[in-house]
């Protein structure tokens, strides 16, 4: 009898706990305050950054006023560890409800099956998607479905040092591939590099391949051969390799040395490609340097840069998908987008272009460049594809392989990766 009583104790405790849990989601009676649901949001803004202050002091209070029954717990995870944290949380089943994810992780997470296809989950998905830049939106697409919405965006534009150009008697930054080639020798004579970049990964090289009229893969993301080793793609990389061979270009992973921003501000590099976050950096480190910008030099394919930024995604493990969707909608609202723009986050909404330029005039060139910018291949194997591209372009830059050989071998290896969907 006593044993039976003992057996009942855990059961009674479970029932009591369950009753308590039920109480928290029961519709509120007039005598009790309404129960709230908490959703967790992971982002990678630095914990002491202006972005976090805006989220915590402006956006979340506003959201909580609009949706008094939803509380958002925003967690700052350092960018460098966010990917690993997402992976361990996936393995441990402890993902948050909403994540601000780097655009290049979305296909990978979607393939793992941890992201909700938002085009199914949110009835107003099409309406929201229409508001955004197509390049930024495309980063969310995987296997015919959209697993997120763009949250903030950026791209690379040409940044140049007017004094360095003037020292070689050049008035304008290069607008075309040909102009860059022409001015390289004059700058070299003055011991100035015409162009510098941090590496040879897709982030660095794709603007040149695309602007030359080339591509990394075909449209269905199934083949790189015939695309990456096409005459147009070779032309884009060949420009960089030729400049390097002349001693007119530098790449951090091959040559080491100065960071591109330091070299530009010190007048050792005439032009670089970089993003909008560099403005406050230059202002802090080189207050006397006047940073000027222009579009990426045009080739036969036009002036095409690479899309960066973050997407906002919902996890399949979220138990509060409706509330998570409300938060995602709020983060794409005019209010949230403009507030975040004030602290350096470029909007993904095409209808806010004018306000953006008013907030920060230098956003103008980036918005202009974004109109034609493209996303890096949205594929779960992107990290490996990027590694392959980086390695083979580095070999071409070092002279170990010709550009044609390097891109042919890279394309063959990337073909194998594209098959592993």
């Amino acid at each position: 009898m006593r044993y039976r009583t003992l057996l009942f104790i855990p059961l009674l405790v479970s029932l009591a706990v369950a009753a308590g849990a039920q109480g928290s989601i029961r519709p509120a009676s007039p005598a009790r305050p309404q129960a709230t649901t908490t959703i967790t949001f992971w982002h990678a803004y630095s914990s002491d950054s202006p972005e976090v202050k805006t989220i915590n002091n402006v956006l979340l209070p506003r959201f909580h006023r609009l949706y008094p029954r939803i509380r958002v717990r925003a967690v700052a995870v350092p960018y460098d560890s966010l990917h690993q944290k997402l992976i361990t949380a996936t393995a441990g089943g402890t993902l948050p409800d909403v994540v601000r994810s780097d655009i290049i992780w979305v296909p990978e997470l979607a393939k793992l099956g941890v992201l909700v296809p938002l085009d199914r989950q949110m009835r107003d998905f099409k309406k929201l998607a229409k508001l955004t830049f197509p390049g930024a939106l495309s980063t969310n697409k995987w296997n015919g479905r959209y697993y997120g919405l763009p949250l903030d965006t950026n791209t690379r534009v040409q940044m140049y040092n007017q004094d360095a150009l003037a020292a070689a008697g050049i008035q304008q930054p290069p607008k075309t591939f040909a102009a860059l080639r022409t001015m390289a020798a004059r700058l070299k004579a003055k011991d100035i590099y015409a162009f510098a970049d941090g590496g040879t990964s897709g982030w660095s090289v794709l603007p040149w391949i695309w602007s030359a009229g080339g591509r990394l893969t075909n449209a269905s993301l199934t083949k790189a051969t015939g695309q990456l080793n096409s005459a147009a793609s070779v032309r884009g990389v060949q420009l960089l390799v030729d400049l390097h061979r002349q001693g007119a270009a530098r790449f951090g992973n091959v040559d080491g040395g100065l960071a591109t921003s330091d070299g530009l501000a010190q007048g050792k590099f005439a032009t670089i490609l970089d993003g909008p976050w560099m403005f406050p950096i230059f202002q802090g480190q080189y207050p006397n340097f006047r940073l000027r910008t222009a579009r990426v030099p045009s080739g036969p394919g036009g002036s095409i840069s690479v899309v960066g930024g973050e997407d906002i995604v919902m996890t399949t493990s979220s138990k509060n998908k409706g509330q998570a969707a409300s938060f995602i909608r709020f983060m794409l609202s005019r209010f949230a987008q403009l507030e975040m723009a004030k602290v350096g986050q470029m909007t993904i909404r095409t209808d806010l272009k004018k306000q953006m330029v008013k907030i920060r005039p230098y956003y103008g060139i980036f918005l202009e460049q974004l109109a034609t910018a493209r996303a890096r291949t949205p594929h779960p194997q992107w990290p490996r594809i990027d590694q392959t591209l980086e390695s083979y372009v580095a070999k071409a830059v070092k002279g170990d392989l010709t550009v044609q050989e390097a891109l042919m071998q890279a394309a063959r290896e990337i073909d194998q990766l594209l098959v592993r969907r």
Partner: protein
């Protein structure tokens, strides 16, 4: 175990020690002399439990993962691929390059650390002023953070603003141009090896020093009386005495050499073009950058196999049949 029938026939045995079921159970448990057979195991149990939890389980799990195309999502199915991950490694050019780089690092750092560590230990074993100061000084790199010194070396060997280029090019003028130390395979490995030696000499020095202090002084005195000079005394007295220590240091350094990771990861990141990849950085990249945990685990087990075999070979061929006894 006690013979229970003889115990039962012994009339002098106290009644409670007779062949009662409880007594024989107690004997079975605690042994003839009431040695508590289980007691040591009870004391060992907590430690073993922790060891099993944090070491054995992950090892067995990693071995299991290495035979799968592993999905990190617990609810997703992982595909059993038998030895495919191991076969893939054996046909992977970067794996072999990583193995060669790892071996090169090991060959560059292990003998150097042994020789320098031994020289410093012998010097610091003699009576000299500020001996403790120098012992601390040589040991200091061992306790510094790998991360800090790796970043420091990265800046020292930077191609433009680096201190080394500044000295060799602008200062002494040995080089006619700045060298991109970290951007080509062998110079980058040389830099990482220099760091490994600088950081490791103190450790081998302290082990050798401890061993040298156990060598009886009278043997040295006897050898000196017989006319042996300092080198011959070291060769024929000290070296045989510290031979087991030398073997231990060699085995440990070889294992440590094959485990080079932080310095490569932070200084070159395996680049450029995967030229300076070592086995552990390659394994890490497969698992945590590409989420290919199956392949990463197979590389880890191949490395374990190599290190295990090398350690056995060293123990087999370097162990001397007769060991020095003081």
């Amino acid at each position: 175990m006690i013979n229970s029938s003889s115990a039962a026939s012994d009339s002098t045995s106290p009644p409670h020690d007779a062949a009662s079921p409880a007594a024989s159970r107690a004997r079975w448990l605690f042994g003839e002399r009431r040695r508590p057979l289980f007691t040591p195991y009870l004391f060992l149990a907590p430690g073993f439990f922790v060891f099993a939890l944090v070491m054995l389980y992950p090892i067995v799990r990693a071995l299991q993962i290495s035979f799968y195309e592993w999905s990190i999502l617990p609810t997703a199915e992982s595909v059993f691929v038998k030895f495919a991950n191991y076969e893939r490694a054996l046909h992977d050019a970067v794996f072999w390059r990583g193995l060669v780089n790892t071996a090169a690092y090991m060959v560059a750092t292990v003998p150097t650390q042994i020789v320098l560590g031994l020289i410093v230990a012998v010097l610091l074993d003699t009576r000299m002023p500020a001996r403790t100061f120098f012992r601390v000084l040589y040991y200091l790199p061992v306790i510094t953070s790998w991360v800090v010194v790796s970043l420091l070396f990265k800046y020292l060997f930077s191609s433009d603003a680096g201190f080394v280029n500044w000295v060799l090019h602008d200062g002494v003028g040995v080089l006619d141009h700045d060298v991109a130390w970290l951007q080509s395979r062998w110079t980058a490995l040389a830099v990482v090896s220099v760091l490994g030696v600088w950081k490791g000499v103190g450790w081998s020095m302290i082990i050798f020093l401890a061993a040298l202090q156990t060598v009886p002084k009278d043997l040295h005195e006897a050898a000196a009386i017989d006319g042996a000079g300092a080198f011959r005394r070291f060769r024929h007295v000290s070296l045989p005495a510290i031979w087991p220590t030398l073997l231990f240091v060699t085995v440990m350094l070889v294992i440590g050499g094959f485990n080079v990771f932080i310095s490569i990861f932070l200084i070159t990141g395996g680049g450029p073009a995967e030229e300076t990849e070592v086995l552990l950085t390659y394994m890490y990249r497969q698992a945590f950058d590409f989420l290919d945990f199956g392949y990463g685990s197979s590389i880890a087990f191949l490395l374990t196999g190599i290190v295990f075999t090398l350690s056995l070979l060293q123990l087999r061929f370097l162990r001397r049949p007769t060991e020095f006894r003081a």
